[in-house]
Amino acid sequence: MNLKPLLILTTGVIVGYLNLIPESLIQLNSKAIKAALFALFIAIGMDMGKDDKLWESLKELKGSVIYIALTGLMGSLMGGALASLLVNIPLSTSVASAAGSGYYSITTLMLKEVGGPEQALIGFISNLLRELMVIVGMPFIAKIWGKAGAVAAAGATAMDTALPFIVKSVGKEVGILSFASGVILTLLVPFLVPTLYKILSTLLP
């Protein structure tokens, strides 16, 4: 397994934690991440565009996108429900967090709105961890659960941060499938998280 991503991430966390970078630069960081994401997308696009075989395989995948996004989401919800039973979290918090599908910024905001700081914190950490686990564990996930499982596991992050790792582990031909599945979930999360939280917390206070 390639340990480079974990090492680089740890270095980043230490640098951020120890405030080794001046405050003014830190504020630029989220902009830098966005710029890097755009560069990433150009590079991924170029890599996909130059490969002709990719376009033939795309036709075969078209019907699978919505299917994978929705079965993946259902798996997430089941995981959230199971977690609620195992570690004593209210079903509403647990299922709504799981519905976040790795999209931690929106999930955190939504849970803060409809729940409170603790719900928001759980939503934040669990979704951030999901993103990290998917990025670091992708070679392993791809080996066990194949291309559909890999895209599903990545949830909403399949369209941006996890995309390069999925492409690297499973192959270029899933790039577009992965992106499209991530887009569907990214569009659903802002509605699903607060709705599920409200319904479940009303039914099971």
Binding site: P5, F38, M48, G79, A83, I135, G146, T161
Partner: protein, 91 residues
């Protein structure tokens, strides 16, 4: 908003690669470019996480709950999809 921009960026990349709008030398190195950008991105995300001190220090009770949600949602998501996807392919 970001979503549309990301889609446009990806599409531009695909067109550049397909129509060979940049010198072949650069397009051929797109996978190397990809690696450099990926690692830069990981470093930047790490710095962002490191800055959330509250999160890193309160990784006790809330942490265990969150780890459980993250693990189970990821695994069941992959597993459920694989199961149904393979059944669908067989039919």
């Amino acid at each position: 908003m970001d979503l549309a921009l990301f889609a446009i960026t990806l599409l531009s990349g695909i067109i550049i690669g397909k129509r060979k709008l940049l010198p072949e030398r650069i397009i051929d190195k797109s996978d190397k470019l990809l690696n450099i950008v990926i690692y830069t991105l990981i470093l930047l995300i790490g710095i962002e996480i490191g800055n959330y001190r509250e999160v890193l220090t309160s990784l006790g009770n809330i942490g265990i709950k969150s780890v459980t949600i993250a693990l189970l949602s990821t695994i069941l998501s992959a597993h459920f999809t694989k199961m149904l996807y393979e059944r669908r392919k067989r039919n």
